[in-house]
Each structure stands twice: as structure tokens, then as C-alpha cells.
């Protein structure tokens, strides 16, 4: 394991932050206070945190409709995220975007995305900027198993290959696109698809933070060295419905309970660092407590914050007109 104590603590903190953020949004959504569509990332934390671990603020990520985890892993402000989800003026997008469009360009977070498959070409563009301007930055395109079937994804992979772009395609295969199983919807093997474009590709256990980080570290190094794109196929699971309100009748009755018991990336992380004697339980418990306080504060502030003002409706359409 390459990570030092501080890095391990940071990884655990970010994964906890995502988990507690999502569990709380789930509970708050049920009260009817949160408007619109909300897609929760709980269960997939090892992907966002493992992939973003070696990224800096100059590096960019293109996210998906299930974007809260990517935002947190890329360093977005949790208060600003929560306020955005509540549609407040203090939100990261001034309340104009909501859960599906949280973005923070200063942190290299190019936006959650309401269009499945919308992100991969954007990440190619970010990688092109980095390559042309010689910033040394890399770009990551997160996408689901559903998104892997979009033409945009295939087009982006080919473009990245022929332009040798510093971009990493991360396929977060959580087994479903809405209610449809990836076992049915994805023809062939995603790893072979990527290899077909000439892109080095690996399959990784997405529940295992360390496996994800190891694979991502190699991909980031390859991109930084000017050796072009990489592709990671992460097998993982989501704990909540496709969106809040989805009854999940298409899943086996005990499926999520079993995943939480056997595959929880947070529990796996705890077990690994304890067994290796890297971090002690008390330090991890302390993190969970800190995170709980943070989330509590974020929700309290978001609920109390002001709504946007009527004049805000007409701003931000153009830079100038």
C-alpha cells in the first residue's frame, strides 16, 4: 500500500462523508423537503474516492446524474452542495442547477450531468485543453453501465485514443441502468470494447478502495506521462433506488441487505487498515463523528438559507449579450 497515514485518513473521511451525505439526503427527501430528481451514490464511494485520490485541483472530472460522490471526492464544499440540492441561493450553482447539475469549476468538477453519456466527450475536451496548454492536468470521465452503451461514450473513447488524450474513462458498473440489468444491456465485455479502441483497460473490484486506487494511480501516471487514455471497469453496487422514489422491485428482496453486509466499501476499508495495523478503530470512529457533525450543519444551514431572488432568474444566461 502506497498511502501514508494522512492519506488513509483522508480517504476514509471522504468515503464517510459521501455515505453520510447520501443517507441523510435519502432521509430528508422522504420528508418532502427536497425538490426534483435525486440519484444517490451510496455504495459506490470507493470509486469516486479511489479515482480522485491522486488528482489535484487542476485535474478535471466529468460526472453523471449520480454525482454527489464525485463532487465530494473532488473537494466540493458540502454546505454548498446541500444548499444546491435544496434550491437555495447559497448553493454551489445558486440554486439554478440542483442535484443533477452540481458543478464547481474551481475544483475541477465539470458538473453532474442530466444527460446519460453527456460527460465523456466533455472530459476529452478538458484533456485536450490540458494537452494543448501543457498544464500537465488529466481528465476523468465517470459513466455508468448504461452510459457505456451511448454513442457518445464510444466516440469519446476513439477520439481519446487517436488524439492520445490524458483522459481516464471510469465505468461505474453498478449492475443497473434504471431497472435494467447491465448483464442484459451491455453486449460483450466493456474491457474488450476499450481495448478495441486501443486503450489499456482493466477490470477492478469497485468495492475495494485499494484496488480502485491502485488502478487509478497507474492510469493517472500514464496520462501525465503523455501516454494517452486508460479505461477502468469497476464492478460495484448502489444501495438506494435509481432515483429517490424508486421501489426497486426489480432487485432481489435481500440484495441490498446482502451487499451492505458483505461488500460495503467502508467496512472493507476498515477491515483492511485494521488488519494491516495502519489505522486504529478509534481514529476511524472519530472521523465518523466529525463527518456526522458536518452533515448536520450542512442540512441545518441549507434549510435556513434564503431562496434565490426573482432577479436571479434572468442572470447567467450569457457572459454578455
Amino acid at each position: 500500500m502506497q498511502l501514508n497515514r494522512d492519506e488513509l485518513l483522508r480517504a476514509y473521511r471522504d468515503m464517510c462523508l459521501i455515505r453520510q451525505f447520501e443517507e441523510r439526503v435519502h432521509a430528508e427527501f422522504a420528508t418532502g423537503d427536497i425538490p426534483g430528481f435525486v440519484h444517490l451514490y451510496a455504495g459506490e464511494e470507493a470509486s469516486a474516492v479511489g479515482v480522485c485520490m491522486d488528482l489535484t485541483e487542476r485535474d478535471t472530472i466529468a460526472s453523471t446524474h449520480r454525482g454527489h460522490g464525485h463532487c465530494i471526492a473532488k473537494g466540493c464544499d458540502v454546505d454548498g452542495m446541500m444548499a444546491e440540492i435544496y434550491g437555495r441561493k447559497s448553493g454551489l450553482c445558486g440554486g439554478k442547477g440542483g442535484s443533477m447539475h452540481i458543478a464547481d469549476l474551481d475544483r475541477g468538477m465539470l458538473g453532474a450531468n442530466g444527460i446519460v453519456g453527456g460527460g465523456a466527450p466533455l472530459a476529452c475536451g478538458a484533456a485536450l485543453s490540458a494537452k494543448t496548454l501543457k498544464t500537465g492536468a488529466v481528465a476523468v470521465a465517470f459513466g455508468g453501465d448504461g452510459a457505456s452503451n451511448q454513442g457518445t461514450t464510444a466516440e469519446a473513447m476513439n477520439l481519446a485514443s487517436v488524439w492520445r488524450l490524458p483522459v481516464i474513462f471510469v465505468l461505474e458498473d453498478n449492475g443497473y441502468a434504471e431497472s435494467t440489468a447491465s448483464a442484459w444491456s451491455v453486449g460483450g465485455d466493456p474491457v474488450k470494447r476499450a481495448e478495441g479502441f486501443g486503450i489499456p483497460a482493466t477490470r477492478v473490484d469497485g468495492h475495494d478502495f485499494f484496488a480502485v486506487h491502485e488502478a487509478a494511480r497507474e492510469a493517472v501516471a500514464r496520462a501525465r506521462a503523455g501516454e494517452g487514455p486508460s479505461f477502468l471497469h469497476l464492478k460495484l453496487a448502489r444501495y438506494f433506488g435509481h432515483f429517490e422514489g424508486d421501489g426497486m422491485t426489480y432487485r432481489a428482496p435481500d440484495e441490498v441487505a446482502r451487499l451492505r453486509a458483505e461488500k460495503d466499501c467502508l467496512k472493507l476499508f476498515r477491515r483492511k487498515v485494521s488488519e494491516a495495523g495502519l489505522l486504529e478503530g478509534a481514529a476511524l470512529d472519530a472521523i465518523e463523528g466529525e463527518v456526522a457533525t458536518l452533515i448536520e450543519g450542512a442540512v441545518r444551514r441549507a434549510k435556513a438559507d434564503a431562496m434565490p431572488e426573482p432577479a436571479d432568474l434572468l442572470t447567467d444566461v450569457y457572459v454578455s449579450y
Binding site: R88, G95, G97, G146, Q150, Y176, E178, T180, P308
Partner: protein, 340 residues
Amino acid sequence: MAKKSFRQAVNEALSQEMARDPRVIVMGEDVAGGLGAPGEDDAWGGPLGVTKGLMKQFGRERVLDTPITESGFIGAAAGAALTGLRPVADLMFVDFMGVCFDQIFNQAAKFKYMFGGKARTPLVIRTMYGGGFRAASQHSQCLYPLFTHIPGLKVAIPSSPYEAKGLLIQAIRDDDPVIFFEHKMLYDIEEEVPDEPYTLPFGEANLTREGDDVTIVAFGRMVMLANEAADRLAGEGIACTVIDPRTTSPLDIETILEEVRATGRLVVVDEAHPRCNMATDISAQIAERAFEALRAPIRMVVPPHTPVPFSPALEDIYLPSVAKIVDAVRAVMAGGRKAA
């Protein structure tokens, strides 16, 4: 006759047409749902449950779930329509047209004309549109003006459950490509809907209110708001005609002309982005052909030229409303001066 929701009306139209004609198929993402999954089959029926039950009735060969690949399956629906099937493809949110627009406007729309009249493309694309769902900029647009712009496409925008069933059956029996717009805030609205199949003609407007003072033209969900405004204004002694054109292509401009000639005043209510939308199109046609009949400038009740905002505080003021329609009618009654 029983009360049915807009959702049930659409479902019934699909089910009855599939039963009548084996060439009618339904396809789209999760139109049944649960494919390859360990739990319930037919788990979704689309994200808002509109096609639920069709797969149980007609099987997966005629109710096809697709991967997320709009360009692929919308194009396949166009190709199937050209070669013997009568597909009803579900584009889910109309905002996703961005992914597959080529297959619609360069392919399906143009077969008949480009091929010298030889093609038939009995394709229906059902799609959800409109605001009020707090669904933000990429899931709330109307966009029917973009389809109306394209010669070769027909565009239907039902305003109620009764209208939805009749117009959808017409769309399925029509031999041209039809884009069928369902406002996501209408699905739970109920009214009397006949059990037996029936069609409503394209290009024939429906008058939902009749009055001598002001003509209001509205589309889709806006018809409901216009009716409410007309009822409120009737209490003030202002009598409105409300016209629901039912289809924007073909557009029954003759009925609108006739009514405007009678009232001399026109308000057009359109939820679509305000530049080059149905309100501007109708206003232009009326200005060109009935200018002399106008007793006041035409008023358009439309959203501002911005994307649809997420925050309820902003979306509520973004959308046309009964109050805004009432204000516009009062303004045309006052000779076009803006009501305070």
C-alpha cells in the same frame, strides 16, 4: 365511460392499438423494465409508469426495452417504420432529442419527400416535456417548436386525458412520423374518457371556451391554465374563447384566424422558450393575415429566454401561470397597455 388519468388514457390507447394491429410495437428505455434483473419483470413501465402492464399483455417481442442508446433505437424505430412495423418509440424526456435528433429530422422526417413520395414512415415518438417538476434545465424543456420547424414531422400536444387517447390513436394510425408530447404535470389529471378506441383529427383545433371578447390560444398543459383564466375572467365580465390547436404541425391557423377576426384580440400562451416558438409563429401569421381585425396588440404569455431553473422559487416565476394569462387578457382589453 369512466374517469381516467392522462397516464391511463395513454396506456389504454397503446394497449388498444397493439391489440388491433400486430405491427404496432413499443420500444424505449425501461418501457417494461427489469430486463436481466433478479426481481420483478415489468418493474417500471417507464420512469412515471405510463407503459406499465403492456409487456405482460403483449410480451417482450412487442414491448422492447432498449439499452440507453437513443440514437440507435430511435433510428431503428424509423427504419422499422419504413419497412413494415408501426413503432411507438419512447424518448422519455424530450430533452434527450439532443442525442438522437439526426435520426428524427434528417432521416425519418425526410424519407417521403427525398424519396419522391415513395416512403411511408408510420413512426410515433412519445416524449415527456414541460416544467413544474423541479427537474431543472435538462429535464424540463418543451422543444416542440424545434420539431414543428421540420417539414415532414407531425407534432401533437394533447391537453387532457380525453385528448391524449384520441390523438395518440390517430398518431399510431397515421402514416407520417408523429412526435407526441406528454406534459409530465398532466399524468395525474383525470376526466371522462371513453372505453372504446376513437381518434381525434390532426390539424383541427378544439375550442374549450367560447366568448366574444378575447381569443386565447394555448398548447398542452397551458390549455388547462387558459381555461382557468377564462373562467376567472368570466366573473369580471370578460368573455374568452380558448383554442387548443391540438397539433402544431399541421396547425389549424384558419380556426385561429376566424376567432381572432370575431374578437379582435389575441393572447397566445406557450410554455416553450420564447424565441421562435408557437406564440411568435401564430402572432406572425395573425399579424400578416388579420392585422386589420386586431383591436389591440397581440400579447404572448411565455417564459423568459433562460434555461429552466431548478429552484422552486425560480421555476414558479419562470413558468406561465393563470395570473399571467389573466393579466395579459386584461391588457388586451385595455387596448394593449400593460396591466399594472
